[in-house]
């Protein structure tokens, strides 16, 4: 029992990342009808927003500290981050410590800008072209983004720490009455899960309960009729693209402490997220979220030793296996809408 709870918990954070990326992919596909292979790169850029902010915060100058002496008896020179000198020692240190969550504030404008530029500059011209061509052009774009990041940040993963307060682990078992130290779960992963739920909830509320969201949903069902009613649906879809980019970006920011960002992390996630989208059903937002969590949890169950003993290697292929079975038995995926990409 405790092992099962532990695996469910372990699956949640990975599942959250899949769900967030898949949500963005589905938003783009459902509105613009574009298959965006560069979405993983957006996730990666988000993670590098966290890296950038942490580096910027770490910028420091040298200062002579009269209260301290080095081993020769001379006054010690210490590195003082600019942030600390501007805001005072305590607040400055807190800002540096919390740079990853703060990077969300940096990521939002950056992702909005990238999203707008991408949509207006490139994707716009591909509405009417085949899915294969959309895949190809966004794939090329993903390579470009990846290489730009690699040029500035190098090829090695860059460790990015979570705030001090979240570095420990939470003893989940003790809470549920199991013996202590059986089910322990890092705080930051829990934060990530809650954050993902929050973002997903916000997107759904936005689509469900605002006029803007209502128009977008109407456009997803029948674009032409909405345009005929005199609504500039393309502009709204562009905004949705930017929102999808922001969702991927903030998902990346918060994931940075879990997985040290490297330039190819986006591609690794993209392949899995596409599988997630297809399993959930192209164009279905609840499907994408559901499939994200289900696959994340299935993956962590498959990596249990007990399961691996029965079917060796299952942990490596479970997601793809599930995808193949789903695609062959349920042409629309788990929750796909009727008539959307069924062939």
């Amino acid at each position: 029992m405790d092992a099962i709870i532990l695996q469910i918990l372990n699956g949640l954070d990975k599942g959250s990342a899949y769900a967030l990326i898949a949500l963005g992919l589905t938003l783009i596909f459902g509105t613009l009808g574009v298959v965006n292979f560069a979405h993983g790169a957006l996730f990666m850029i988000g993670a590098f927003c966290a890296v950038t902010l942490q580096k910027l915060m770490g910028l420091s100058f040298e200062q002579v500290d009269p209260t301290q002496k080095d081993f020769l008896g001379n006054p010690l020179k210490v590195q003082v981050p600019y942030v600390e000198s501007w805001f005072g020692h305590d607040i400055g240190a807190a800002i540096i410590d919390w740079s990853v969550p703060l990077a969300i504030l940096l990521a939002i404008p950056v992702m909005v800008a990238i999203g707008f530029a991408m949509e207006r500059g490139l994707i716009k011209h591909f509405y009417k072209r085949s899915h294969a061509e959309q895949i190809l052009v966004t794939f090329g774009l993903a390579i470009v983004m990846q290489e730009v990041i690699k040029y500035f940040f190098g090829a090695n993963p860059i460790q990015t720490g979570a705030p001090e307060a979240f570095t420990g682990s939470f003893d989940f078992g003790a809470l549920l009455g199991f013996s202590p130290d059986v089910i322990i779960y890092p705080y930051w992963r829990m934060v990530y899960f809650l954050f993902a739920v929050l973002v997903i909830g916000a997107v759904f509320v936005f689509l469900q309960f605002t006029t803007f969201g209502m128009v977008v949903r109407a456009g997803m069902v029948d674009r032409d009729t909405v345009s005929l009613l005199g609504i500039n649906i393309n502009r709204r879809f562009t905004i949705m693209f930017a929102i999808a980019a922001v969702v991927a970006g903030v998902a990346g920011v918060m994931y940075a402490p879990i997985l040290s960002p490297s330039f190819h992390m986006g591609m690794d996630f993209l392949v899995l997220s596409f599988v997630v989208v297809v399993v959930g059903g192209m164009g279905s937002l609840p499907g994408a979220v559901l499939a994200g969590f289900v696959l994340g949890i299935l993956q962590s169950f498959a990596s249990m030793n007990e399961v691996k003993a029965i079917i060796p290697g299952i942990d490596q292929i479970i997601i793809y296996l599930v995808a193949i079975v789903i695609l062959l038995t349920r042409p629309r995926g788990l929750l796909g809408r009727k008539g959307v990409m069924e062939d």
């Binding site: 298959v35 899915h131 895949i135 052009v137 596409f274 296996l321 193949i324 695609l327 990409m341």
Partner: protein, 395 residues
């Protein structure tokens, strides 16, 4: 069997000539000159041109003719490599049994994957092939370690049986005694040409593969595949069962990939799982699109282009750039070098990505469409010849 048309025969002769003369054609700059680093006439690279040409040619039979975008062709490449290395281990270093096995196993593999994947089309087909390839890749790394030697990669060890190994057989891949690594060097007034046995072996196979592809393109079977690309629904309604045609195309293209993988192992007797990773599948997609999908010559050009970039362009570094722009005033020189530097050397992938995006946006037909446009703009001789180019795009 019908004869090739006059135009096609000429085309085939041209390809044969270009392939056989590659060691000379790709060595345009004399040894020791500052441009000598652009020479691509060394055996390793030339073999890669031919091998990836075969790979892209095979991919093109599927994608170019039927429009089904497979993101899992690297799996067949890997299977081919593993087959050949296993034959080295069991029988000896002769490449022939290995290559035959590579084509057969990859064909069987393609039959299985294709049978399942072709139940769906469009993006679902892409995802299914991708899923199968990633499964093969992950399994090659983990559970199939006895077959694939996991992360180390499969290679020949001294304790392997090698039953057909005679006392005088070469101790490296060979074709009935002709070692692949042997080559003849010819010095000619400053130029150095290398005629390598491995290259010529690969080249002959590539020519045969090209001939087969040409026949497929011109056959009723090829016509049927094009019809599937144009409108599959209509074919279904007119009572044609398209699936056997699709499956045949998929298997043929898988066999091409297996052959290419086998030849990679013939060049260098190693096989690693990373050949099966989806990035390798992405690479062949890039090659085919860049050259021009659906044309005979395009994928080969695309493969050559990318491999040339990978090997030559990536060698340019900052000091080479400073050499080139040495004639500029100092400040301007630094500026120009700083601007160009991110795009060469390590950053050649960036250039590749940019070129690829531009090609997809402006030249959906790839390099071949570019040639065709230039041809139309300048070389229009008579109405008749332009009409012919319309009918047979890009040849």
């Amino acid at each position: 069997m019908t004869r090739l048309s006059r135009q096609d025969s000429l085309f085939l002769l041209l390809v044969v000539f270009l392939t056989l003369a590659t060691p000379i054609l790709l060595q345009p700059f004399p040894e020791g000159s500052s441009l000598a680093q652009f020479n691509a006439g060394y055996p390793d690279l030339m073999q890669r041109f031919a091998i990836y040409g075969i790979f892209a040619m095979g991919f093109n039979i599927l994608f170019g003719l039927t429009g089904y975008l497979s993101f899992g062709h690297a799996a067949f490449l890997g299977v081919g490599s593993y087959s050949v290395v296993w034959m080295y281990k069991l029988l000896g270093f002769n490449v022939v049994p290995g290559l035959i096995l590579a084509v057969i196993t990859s064909g069987i593999f393609a039959l299985l994957i294709g049978y399942i994947s072709l139940r769906r089309s469009g993006i679902y087909f892409s995802i299914l092939t991708l899923a199968f390839a990633q499964m093969s890749y992950n399994l090659a790394y983990s559970v199939f370690t006895p077959l694939t030697n996991g992360e180390t990669g499969l290679q020949v060890y001294g304790k392997d049986p090698q039953y057909l190994m005679g006392p005088n057989s070469p101790n490296s891949p060979h074709f009935f005694g002709l070692a692949m690594i042997d080559s003849v060097k010819l010095h000619l007034a400053g130029w150095e040409f290398t005629f390598n046995i491995g290259y010529y072996f690969t080249a002959v196979i590539a020519i045969i593969a090209f001939y087969i592809a040409l026949r497929i393109f011109r056959s009723p079977f090829g016509l049927m595949l094009r019809a599937i690309k144009t409108n599959r629904t209509r074919l279904d309604y007119s009572g044609v069962n398209t699936r056997p045609y699709m499956l045949t195309a998929f298997v043929i293209s898988g066999m091409y990939a297996g052959l290419a993988g086998g030849l990679l192992a013939a060049m260098d007797p190693l096989a690693g799982a990373e050949r099966m990773q989806w990035t390798a599948s992405g690479e062949v997609v890039l090659m085919t699109i860049l050259g021009g999908a659906g044309t005979l010559m395009g994928p080969i050009l695309g493969a050559g282009f990318i491999k040339y970039f990978e090997n030559i362009f990536s060698k340019i570094n900052e000091s080479v750039l400073h050499d080139w722009f040495g004639w500029l005033p100092h400040g301007v020189q630094d500026f120009v070098v700083a601007v160009i530097n991110p795009f060469v050397g390590e950053g050649w992938h960036l250039t590749l990505g940019l070129i690829f995006v531009l090609v997809v946006v402006f030249l959906p037909g790839g390099i071949m469409e570019g040639f065709q446009r230039i041809w139309k703009a300048f070389g229009r001789k008579s109405v008749d010849s332009s009409a012919q180019t319309e009918l047979n795009p890009a040849e």
